[in-house]
């Protein structure tokens, strides 16, 4: 396994961090500002993709930035798992940027410069998390993400936005400082290092009770993964503009949380240790409760974005569930779901935003008949929801299938039941939206005033919807990366 020292990972992270400066400076010229954003997004994807061949072949890129605490440098490492996440995030950011342009301009939003600049910093932090070589670096970028997404969540500046912002920070900063930091310190004190090592670093270092406590601290501490009871910030964050909800709370922020937990499971604890101590049960317990509870609550939500938020909470726990199964197919399914869910959910959010731009409607009960006026949007929504439910021929089917096989492999038939029930529930809260959109009688107002969404919104949502289909037929790159990450 060769490790190449290179500045590529740093460049991939910094391009948008430094790029925030020209964005801030071109505040008066919207076209130039958006041009910068697109340029940076394309550049970032190119830089990330440039490292793909080596990683697929088994190599890694490393870079040490500073060694402040002995044994724990601030360092970057691009391995298969990190590349997987970074690829998804940087690819989807391109489309989010295009979508943002359509959305923000159509709604004539205020403070757009602050929006684009914060977004740039946030994606920088996301890639930073993907490329972290140890827990400290991950924590650094995790906090950077929390702080840079605050202006995005509170974008509207009204009382509700501010309240949600406070809730957001309370949950996310509170858990990261109160739970993750002590867990990191205890880990450091036990082992003297925080590096991500395949097979984990904690084997044999402490008693089962201590390790159990550590696991719980980490899992609950990375609240961005939306595991109950620290999921409350996600629905509250829906007050943000839809591109923010789509990308950050469908892809970047929430996946960062899951990614962090998976890193801890695979590279700090290690599947073998967890298997020996029977801790997989802890993970599957938390995940199952979250999945079922979130799916049930989603049924009761009339606000479309809030329904999607609860759906996300449930789907995120699929990934933890898969990892908790500790079986080959289960872990593969869990990790694959990161990609499948990302594409599917972002499509759904894009559609929700498009609906709002075209018709100013937020509540599902008001959206009867809209499908006939906005066929492309609603069809994309249909595809996205199929992916989330896990039906062929959409990408979501592959990850769900792996999860079911994994549950059977691990002799956990109860989990099979959880998976099936939650799929049914997902169908129950998605299909009515599509059905009513296409087949229910529309109100006068709808017929009179609504047309399709603007083009800049339509293109991204169509692309991501098609990608969800495409991933069913061509999941190879992601499959390869996942396999290399789990079984090097």
């Amino acid at each position: 396994m060769d490790m190449t020292t290179s500045y590529l990972p740093l460049a991939a992270i910094l391009i948008s961090l430094l790029g925030a400066v020209p964005i801030l400076l071109s505040g008066r010229m919207p076209n130039l500002r958006e041009g910068w954003t697109l340029l940076i997004a394309l550049g970032k994807f190119t830089l990330v993709a440039a490292m793909l061949p080596t990683v697929l072949a088994g190599g890694t890129y490393v870079l040490t930035l500073a060694e402040v605490i002995p044994g724990v440098p601030i360092a970057l490492r691009v391995d298969a798992m990190g590349m997987y996440f970074a690829l998804i995030a940087s690819f989807l950011w391109i489309f989010t940027s295009i979508y943002s342009m359509g959305y923000m301009r159509a709604l004539k939003e205020h403070n757009q410069t602050r929006y684009y600049a914060s977004f740039a910093v946030a994606i920088s932090a996301t890639i930073g998390v993907a490329f972290s070589a140890n827990l400290l670096t991950l924590y650094l970028f995790y906090e950077m993400l929390s702080l840079s997404t605050y202006p995005l969540v509170t974008h509207h500046g009204d009382a509700e936005a501010r309240r949600s912002g406070r809730k957001y920070l309370t949950y996310i900063l509170g858990t990261s400082i109160g739970l993750v930091l002590p867990a990191m310190l205890i880990t450091y004190q036990l082992t003297g290092t925080l590096d991500f090592t395949h097979g984990g670093i904690l084997s044999g270092e402490a008693s089962a009770a201590t390790l159990g406590l550590l696991l719980v601290l980490f899992v609950l501490g990375f609240a961005k993964a939306g595991i109950m009871p620290f999921h409350g910030w996600l629905p509250a964050a829906m007050v943000a503009p839809t591109p923010v909800s789509a990308f950050l709370h469908g892809v970047a922020v929430v996946k960062v949380g899951v990614f962090a937990i998976l890193r801890v499971i695979f590279d700090i604890f290690g599947p073998d240790l967890l298997h020996r101590l029977d801790f997989g049960v802890v993970l599957t317990y938390f995940a199952s409760v979250t999945i079922l509870a979130a799916s049930l609550v989603a049924l009761t939500q009339d606000n479309l974005k809030r329904r999607l938020a609860y759906s996300t909470i449930g789907q995120l726990s699929y990934m933890i569930l898969g990892a908790g199964m500790l079986s080959a197919a289960g872990m593969t399914g869990g990790m694959l779901h990161i990609a499948m869910h990302a594409f599917g959910k972002i499509t759904l959010f894009f559609c929700a935003g498009a609906i709002y731009v075209a018709s100013h409607k937020k509540y599902i009960s008001e959206m009867d008949g809209l499908g006939r006026r906005m066929p492309i949007t609603y069809f994309a929504f249909f595809l996205g929801s199929l992916s989330i439910i896990g039906m062929p021929p959409l990408g979501g089917f592959i990850s769900k299938w792996n999860l079911v096989i994994g549950a059977v492999e691990a002799d956990q038939l109860l989990l099979v039941a959880v998976l099936l029930v939650s799929s049914l529930l997902s169908a129950a809260y998605f299909f009515p939206i599509v059905y009513r959109g296409f087949f229910a009688p529309a109100s006068e107002e709808t017929l009179a005033h609504t047309g399709e969404a603007p083009l800049l919104c339509l293109i991204p949502l169509s692309v991501t919807a098609l990608c969800s289909v495409g991933l069913f037929f061509y999941p190879d790159i992601f499959l390869q990366l996942v396999h290399r990450a789990l079984f090097p």
Binding site: A66, V68, I69, I74, R162, R166, L173, P182
Partner: protein, 493 residues
């Protein structure tokens, strides 16, 4: 002027400049800025050179008046002392730069008096960190205190009353310290720190030594506002003139904590095992933890930015005292690193407050609305300092907190660990409350460009420098710890 005595000139130049400022400043105000800034720049550069020299050659000694120790007064500059000297000089320079416009606004016509006291205070602080004589320490402590009493009393409104209260409490502290030194003198017959440290272990009978220890510590605790002896601090620091707060807040308590470490490790060498056994050590760490929690809670109740910051100072003192009494290397590293970091963080926060007060005249939370549009640079620096206080990497505050937390875990002092985490969360609440008011609480869709009216460059310059220093110190903390702090601790233990 020879290079050999550079460390003396670090002190001598500002002292003589104090005199010059008073005489020349009477005639014309324009003398004051160049004199003060010039003298302090010289001191900063010289202190940096001294640090380099000490790191290369080892501890420097200077015998005052050529009376050799242990009878004469000696200045001892070891790497830690040199680092503190540089810290005091640099912080004083930045504070003075910020104080000049502030004082011109708040105390017109009295600047020459203000800066005379200011410079003498700085000289006192610098002397405190490099003295090698216990009684000389008392004298310098009182020099800094008296000038502080005067500076605080120059404020508006209730400031003289706050200053008088400070005088009473501060004098009790100083007298306790003097009593402690007295006991040590009666026991050992010498006042030189190194000498006392050599003689003390050879003496039997620990009651007198323990009493001396107790008086010294309590005296210093009153001076550094260690909970529950902190009552004088919030009033004194928040009512002082803005320019005075810039110097006093970052430095006075931190230098006093450094003095406590010096007294513990260079004079007394306490028997940590005995302290741990008798439960005293644990009790002190719990007291520190309680102080952190109470001070943070009291900060939550404040409606004025400056008062909130003064309660945070009290909480930070708890961090460092707790860290020292953890009695392990990690905790002491954390405490020493935190002295440097906290001085810079407090300086940055008070500079931001000074800039805001200069432009808007008030620090009540309600009047901070929409400030980010009007003073973006100030608020950006304030945000960075806030992150450091909360403990967000890669700012400096995170790394010293790491060491302190790790030390607490190693020592099994979970109350202290809990208090530190609680304090971080409370800081997050406190600062985000302000950030929210400043960033968002104007009318939501108001996109009108407001005129950007930053404070003058002399205030904003040091502000930006100290904010950047927080990041640089954060990333460079490893170097600092390795080259200065760890060797110093090794020399102590």
């Amino acid at each position: 002027m020879t290079f050999a005595n550079l460390h003396m000139y670090v002190l001598a130049v500002p002292l003589l400049t104090a005199l010059a400022v008073n005489l020349l400043g009477r005639r014309s105000r324009t003398w004051i800025a160049p004199l003060t800034l010039g003298a302090l720049s010289f001191s900063t550069v010289a202190a940096a050179l001294v640090l380099v020299r000490v790191l290369r050659e080892g501890t420097l000694h200077y015998t005052v008046g050529n009376w050799s120790p242990p009878y004469g007064i000696e200045l001892v500059i070891d790497p830690l002392g040199a680092l503190m000297l540089l810290l005091v000089a640099a912080a004083a320079l930045l504070a003075t730069s910020g104080a000049l416009p502030s004082v011109a606004l708040e105390l017109p016509g009295r600047e020459h008096l203000f800066f005379t006291l200011y410079l003498i205070l700085i000289v006192g602080l610098m002397g405190l960190v490099i003295t090698g004589d216990a009684f000389n320490l008392y004298v310098l402590l009182e020099i800094t205190s008296i000038t502080t009493y005067g500076l605080v009393a120059m404020g508006k409104g209730r400031a003289p009353l706050a200053s008088f209260n400070y005088i009473i409490m501060g004098s009790i502290g100083a007298c306790f310290y003097l009593l402690g030194v007295g006991y040590l003198y009666i026991l050992t017959g010498t006042l030189n720190m190194a000498d006392i440290a050599a003689i003390l272990p050879t003496l039997p009978g620990t009651v007198a030594a323990a009493t001396a220890f107790a008086f010294l510590l309590v005296g210093l605790w009153i001076k550094m506002a260690f909970f529950p002896l902190h009552g004088w601090l919030p009033n004194a620091y928040s009512l002082a003139p803005t320019g005075a707060g810039l110097l006093i807040a970052p430095l006075m308590t931190k230098v006093t904590i450094y003095l406590m470490i010096r007294v513990l490790y260079s004079i007394i060498h306490p028997n940590w095992a005995l302290l741990a056994e008798s439960g005293v050590q644990s009790a002190l760490v719990w007291a520190a933890a309680l102080g952190i929690v109470c001070a943070s809670a009291m900060a939550l109740g404040q409606r004025d930015l400056k008062r909130m910051l003064t309660y945070l100072i009290v909480a930070e003192v708890g961090y460092m005292v707790g860290g020292v009494f953890l009695a392990n290397e990690t905790g002491l590293t954390g405490a020493l690193l935190h002295i440097v970091n906290d001085a810079l963080m407090t300086l940055c926060l008070f500079l931001a407050a000074a800039a805001i007060v200069y432009r808007t005249g008030s620090l009540e939370f309600d009047s901070l609305r929409g400030l980010y549009r009007r003073m973006p640079v100030t608020l950006a620096a304030f945000t960075l300092a806030a992150f450091s206080m909360i403990g967000v990497p890669p700012t400096a505050g995170f790394f010293s907190k790491w060491y302190l937390l790790l030390g607490g875990i190693e020592a099994g002092q979970w109350g202290y660990v809990g208090a530190l985490l609680f304090s971080s969360l409370v800081n997050a609440v406190l600062f985000f409350r302000i950030i929210e008011i400043a960033f968002f609480r104007n009318s939501a869709a108001d996109d009108r460009p407001l005129p950007v009216t930053e404070a003058p460059a002399m205030l904003v310059g040091p502000l930006v420098l100290s904010a950047l220093a927080l990041v640089v110190l954060g990333l460079g903390a490893g170097g600092l710890v390795d080259s200065v702090i760890l060797p110093a601790i090794a020399a102590f233990l």
